[in-house]
């Protein structure tokens, strides 16, 4: 693996201010993504994973949201310090994003082709004929057999899976260095999901794109990710390569998540479940944010102090007092 990360996020804090309350949606997140690597950001609803990804491209609606602290270094540039027009040059060009619901990023009144060509003409200065040729090639690449026809169709004429593929074609059109995929297959049926995941893998290989994959589906994570970040309560609670996370997780939340999913491969009679629900971001407990739901033997410190994310070996980091390193 290269030593120079493509993306470095340092102490990112994104807060929301509503009804006089401060909601710490993302609260001190650190991680890097290397070139050609797929990093999965895993968590349940309200964990802050989507807000983290939106913060990277500065897509947080302000107000009510605000990035109050941190650095987002992409290719040696701090994205948080760029002017609006400079970040616009990066959006869609060097970093692009795909969403769960493709209609949030496809414009219903333009054809698929017009939307793919717009980026090509703006960022790559292609003329109309060449942009069209390239758009057709992209649509073929993402598996449209009738790309020459599809290019002149409107989003509503396509099915959910086709729209998702069109959105991937659009996202890949400028050969971005980083693709942020926020729940890209959650709304799709499994057979269509399989098509889309395969497509994302192909695209990644072809362009050596780095992928930040945001998902709650641990099956998708196991299949796609090189490294995994587990988020809970606006913070990363565990980080490691995909094998470490699935085979020897340490954080009680990660363990709980893994044992609460039914799998096609085993025949447990009973699922283990985590007590309670994810706390709302304005009512985090004082100590460890997972402490109220934690099933493991709790230390008295768990309810008093917030544990730090600490490296316990070879890129494996955990935020838990049970694995606190003893300082010599």
């Amino acid at each position: 693996m290269q030593t120079e990360p493509l993306l470095i996020i340092r102490d990112l804090k994104t807060y929301f201010y509503t009804d006089g309350k401060e909601v710490k949606a993302v609260d001190g997140v650190n991680f890097q993504i290397y070139k050609g690597e797929t990093v999965a950001l895993v968590g349940e609803s309200g964990s802050g994973k989507s807000v983290t990804s939106m913060s990277i491209l500065r897509l947080i609606p302000d107000p009510p949201g605000k990035i109050v602290n941190g650095e987002i270094i992409f290719n040696k540039l701090d994205l948080l310090k760029l002017s609006e027009s400079d970040i616009n040059e990066i959006r869609g060009n060097e970093i692009s994003m795909i969403f769960q619901e493709p209609m949030t990023s496809l414009n219903p009144v333009f054809t698929i082709g017009e939307q793919i060509m717009e980026g090509l003409r703006h960022h790559h200065n292609l003329d109309k004929a060449n942009a069209r040729k390239k758009a057709i090639r992209l649509l073929q690449l993402v598996g449209f057999p009738r790309a020459e026809d599809i290019i002149d169709e409107y989003p509503h004429q396509l099915s959910g899976g086709m729209r998702q593929r069109a959105m991937i074609a659009m996202a890949m059109s400028l050969e971005p260095k980083l693709l942020i995929a926020d729940e890209p297959t959650t709304a799709l049926d499994v057979t269509i999901q399989a098509q889309i995941l395969e497509l994302m893998r192909d695209v990644k290989e072809k362009f050596n794109t780095s992928i930040l994959l945001i998902t709650h589906d641990l099956g998708v994570v196991a299949e796609m990710a090189d490294r995994v970040l587990v988020m809970y309560g606006g913070q990363i609670v565990e980080e490691g390569d995909v094998y470490t996370i699935f085979e020897s997780p340490n954080h009680p939340y990660t363990k709980g998540l893994l044992s609460s999913i039914p799998s096609l491969n085993d025949d447990k009679d009973r699922l283990e479940s985590i007590e309670g629900t994810v706390p709302a971001a304005h009512e985090f407990p004082k100590g460890c944010r997972f402490a109220p739901r934690c099933g493991e033997k709790k230390l008295s410190i768990c309810e008093e102090k917030l544990p730090q994310l600490q490296e316990i070996g070879n890129g494996h980091k955990v935020r838990c007092f049970l694995y606190e390193r003893v300082e010599a």
Partner: protein, 323 residues
């Protein structure tokens, strides 16, 4: 084990008319459920899986006449449900209840949790008021909620708690059959496990029979004794869980199972990628409805509809390949 039949579904069809033209005449039909037959035994969980548009929800609803059937018969404890008038059906439906993905989408937000759980008992004129109050408390307890929660309103509840209330409400009139339509698919995984475990406990305690409709094959496998697979309005395969998951026979079942991502990074699955999308149920393909996406399709599949047959004990398939 001696099995008692609880429900028998015979050649059930539900077509929705497509209206068009100036006179809004019927110009075609969406064949949402097209000739489905199966049996459910007392105390079992029959899982029904299928992708969107497969007709699994419509089938569940038509079975208990939330939609009026187009054709076919459904016997509940030997009693043909389709012979009753709509009014009589309300009384008969007491034995069967539905649990939905979002149980509160159709409920009055101004009623308290206790009132919502009580409502079915009031409708069916069961018990007197104080007995009902006792019953509500008992039910809250059974689904793992404190009795004090009864005075709260739905919006104060999380998704998992709402589903617990949905179950309590369904159980309030002692049904024998529960049709659960994607009951856990909107929940986070940690909460999903709680509700799945609760459903298992309630089944044991109240001797319930579940028709469990879902798109998540792992969840269905976990909860079900037998599993049926639907595609474009039809059952294509039905067998006990072990046979279906370890030896699927229908090419669609095989593809569907191979597509499920497994939470194990060392497992590199041999995947069958299906081409294209599910065709429209308004204009289903001729012959076997799966043939345009099936890599084994022959000329026969294009013209002749495969029959629903038992190919081994309790293993049903509709496919020409197994002839």
């Amino acid at each position: 084990m001696k099995q008692t039949v609880l429900v028998e579904v015979k050649n059930l069809k539900k077509y929705f008319p497509i209206k068009g033209g100036i006179l809004k005449r019927t110009i075609g039909h969406i064949k949402a459920v097209d000739d489905v037959s199966f049996t459910m035994y007392k105390g079992e969980t029959l899982g029904i899986v299928g992708e969107s548009g497969s007709g699994k929800s419509t089938m569940g609803r038509t079975m208990i006449r939330l939609y009026e059937p187009t054709e076919g018969e459904v016997f509940f404890e030997g009693d043909n449900l389709f012979k009753y008038s709509r009014k009589e059906m309300r009384r008969v439906r007491k034995g069967m209840q539905m649990v939905f993905q979002d149980p509160f989408a159709s409920l009055n937000p101004r009623m308290t949790i206790a009132e919502l759980i009580e409502e079915p008992m009031v409708v069916h004129k069961l018990y007197d008021r104080s007995e009902r109050n006792e019953k509500v408390k008992e039910l809250l307890n059974k689904v793992g909620l404190q009795a004090e929660y009864g005075s709260l309103y739905p919006h104060e509840f999380s998704g998992g708690q709402r589903q617990r209330v949905g179950l309590a409400r369904a159980l309030s009139i002692n049904p024998k059959l529960i049709i659960a339509d994607e009951p856990v698919s909107a929940l986070d995984v940690s909460v999903q496990a709680q509700v799945i475990n609760l459903m298992k406990d309630l089944q044991d305690e109240f001797e319930l029979t579940y028709l469990f409709i879902a798109h998540d094959l792992s969840v269905v496998k976990h909860l079900s004794d037998r599993v049926g697979v639907m595609y474009l309005g039809r059952l294509v395969e039905l067998a006990n869980k072990k046979d279906l998951y370890s030896g699927p026979v229908h090419p669609y079942t095989q593809a569907l199972l191979s597509a499920v991502p497994v939470p194990n990074p060392r497992l590199k699955k041999e995947r069958i990628i299906l081409e294209g999308d599910i065709p429209s149920p308004a204009n289903p393909p001729s012959g076997c409805v799966f043939h345009p996406r099936c890599k084994y399709a022959t000329d026969r599949c294009r013209v002749e509809k495969p029959l629903w047959r038992e190919i081994a004990k309790d293993h049903y398939v509709a496919c020409h390949l197994v002839d």
